[in-house]
């Protein structure tokens, strides 16, 4: 058995002894579900192939979607799963990264206290990866979500900001736009009615644009506080102190900061040395689009490597796939090709 195979089996056994059932999913996935969930960007990363009968199919770009679907079909809760196998991503213009790579994952669907479940998953990864000398980074997208909800502005503007949380440059552009008086807009000249979008929708949005033109800018104090939030970075303990002091200026984040504190306590109970863990409020906003709460990653000090492991909470994605069924979901993956290379490095 190759070293990689041995490592995959070992990691899978670790997750199984933590209570996970090992499941298998198809490599070939229907493209429409993934496209609807991730949008056009997934086409720039996933291998798409066409079957004359079944239509577009994709080589599994990750396990999240098939695992959540498996869970929704089985529906027993609480549930813990582990899985292992290849995922496929093409690297447009980057020929150095491999298109096929292995993942071993652990996912928890459990309605228990959110902070305890998050701590359980993180502690399991932390303990499993302890021998490799990695650096752990964490974040919490939930802070940004509550901060947006608390802004003094219209629901339409809040929705626009929430929609672009995972596109930081667009998010910043929107914040700038909403912090200034609205510039008068020259409307289009109009023309013959064509296409599926009906004229009432154009009229409705013209009314919305008129409302928007009269909207007050978001107070500068709130913009500053939100930008300060995005800048917070440091050790977990340090970041928590910064967030507690920011909460005095931005009281809406208090509930999310309390949640962080509860998670910190749960991490300690689970035996994690929290002094060695990093925290960044903006962590995971570019690379981890479907996570909407606690997020984490483990990094080796090697140029050009992806995270050796990563994960987090993705309730919103599970809700969409559940078609109305609400299932809290936390999980993550380890990239065994990289843990193996770290092991080999040790032996030299």
């Amino acid at each position: 058995m190759s070293r990689l195979r041995t490592e995959i089996t070992r990691l899978s056994a670790v997750f199984q002894s933590a209570g996970a059932i090992r499941i298998e999913t198809d490599i070939l996935q229907p493209a429409n579900v993934l496209l609807d969930l991730y949008g056009e960007d997934i086409r720039a990363r996933a291998y798409v192939t066409v079957d004359p009968l079944r239509g577009e199919q994709m080589l599994r770009p990750d396990f999240t979607v098939p695992v959540v679907q498996w869970h929704m079909a089985e529906s027993a809760e609480p549930a813990r799963y582990t899985y292992d196998g290849p995922v496929f991503r093409y690297q447009d213009g980057d020929t150095k990264r491999t298109a096929q790579s292995e993942q071993v994952g652990y996912e928890v669907f459990d309605r228990g206290p959110a902070d305890v479940i998050e701590a359980e998953v993180f502690a399991l990864f932390h303990k499993t990866l302890a021998p490799y000398g990695l650096t752990a980074s964490t974040g919490d997208v939930g802070l940004l979500v509550v901060a947006i909800d608390g802004l003094t502005t219209s629901d339409a503007r809040k929705a626009a900001l929430r929609r672009h949380i995972w596109r930081p440059s667009k998010f910043k552009a929107l914040l700038r736009r909403f912090s200034q008086p609205v510039l008068a807009k020259t409307l289009g000249a109009g023309g013959q009615q064509i296409g599926l979008r009906e004229s009432f929708d154009v009229d409705e949005r013209l009314v919305q644009l008129a409302d928007e033109a009269a909207a007050q800018p978001i107070p500068q104090m709130e913009i500053d506080a939100l930008n300060d939030l995005l800048e917070i970075k440091g050790s977990l303990l340090d970041a928590l102190t910064q967030l507690q002091s920011l909460a005095l200026r931005l009281p809406v984040i208090t509930s999310a900061v309390d949640h962080m504190l509860a998670r910190l306590t749960a991490l300690r109970v689970a035996g994690v040395d929290v002094s060695q863990i990093g925290f960044e409020a903006a962590y995971g906003l570019t690379a981890m689009e479907y996570y909407d709460g606690f997020v984490f990653g483990f990094y080796a000090n090697q140029a050009g490597w992806p995270a050796v492991a990563s994960g987090g909470r993705y309730d919103a994605l599970a809700r969409i796939l559940g078609q109305g069924r609400d299932v809290p979901a936390v999980g993550g993956i380890i990239r065994p090709e990289f843990t193996v290379r770290l092991l080999e490095g040790d032996m030299q």
């Binding site: 949008g39 020929t95 596109r167 409307l187 000249a189 023309g191």
Partner: protein
């Protein structure tokens, strides 16, 4: 012998022939006008290869052509790592075309990408699927949309008559090349103010993978290598 790839028909071929002719290199189709075999006079050691403009990027990238004439749009679209495999030698001053994003003119509320993004969100909520943009320039448009922060859209493939896609209800918007904008307007569409994806023109490219010695041709037509 080096191989020079040139578009095999139409205006692009004629203008390419004229461009080389003005620099002392006479390109012509040998035999009948229907035959895709060419000849080169005025410089030795150059073989003319006639093929469609869309295939020239691939042949340059593979090193089967030493030099070739095709649009910037086609090279950027078809070669993900184009800077690694080809080098632009000369912009030729014809075949100008802009790759643009256009939406129905009846969308009076949509004049820029910010509006398009907002309408894409509404459209998806109402229709249950993502707003469709018809194009054959998938990579370029996707990169542009990502950089500009447009979400909730999908690309649908259209290899021709793209301007008609909205009227035919196979798409809500289009991304296509235009030189004067006349076809866009005739199909009841309007170009977004900030919807310019790429400015393209016919360009002479050198393949970084080809082995041939192009110096005689380069010297004859008088371009800096």
């Amino acid at each position: 012998m080096i191989k020079l790839g040139v578009p095999s028909k139409g205006r692009l071929m004629k203008e390419t022939f004229a461009w080389f002719s003005a620099r002392g290199v006479r390109l012509s189709k040998s035999g009948s006008d229907r035959e895709y075999v060419g000849r080169v006079d005025g410089v030795a050691g150059v073989e003319l290869v006639l093929l469609t403009a869309g295939e020239i990027p691939r042949e340059l990238a593979a090193g089967r052509l030493d030099m070739g004439v095709t649009g910037t749009d086609l090279v950027h679209e078809k070669l993900a790592n184009w800077t690694d495999v080809v080098a632009p030698m000369a912009e030729m001053g014809f075949g100008f075309a802009d790759l643009i994003i256009a939406v129905p003119a009846c969308w009076r509320d949509v004049t820029c990408l910010h509006d398009l993004d907002a309408v894409a969100a509404r459209f998806r909520a109402q229709q249950g699927f993502r707003l469709r943009i018809a194009t054959k320039y998938h990579r370029l448009v996707r990169q542009f949309m990502t950089a500009q922060g447009v979400a909730d859209y999908q690309l649908v493939d259209s290899q021709g008559a793209t301007e008609g896609a909205v009227k035919n209800e196979t798409a809500e918007a289009i991304a296509d090349i235009t030189s004067t904008g006349a076809t866009i307007e005739a199909n009841h569409l309007q170009i977004l103010e900030d919807g310019l994806v790429l400015k393209s023109q016919a360009t002479l490219w050198h393949s970084k993978l080809a082995q041939g010695d192009c110096s005689a041709l380069i010297e004859k037509i008088g371009i800096a290598p």
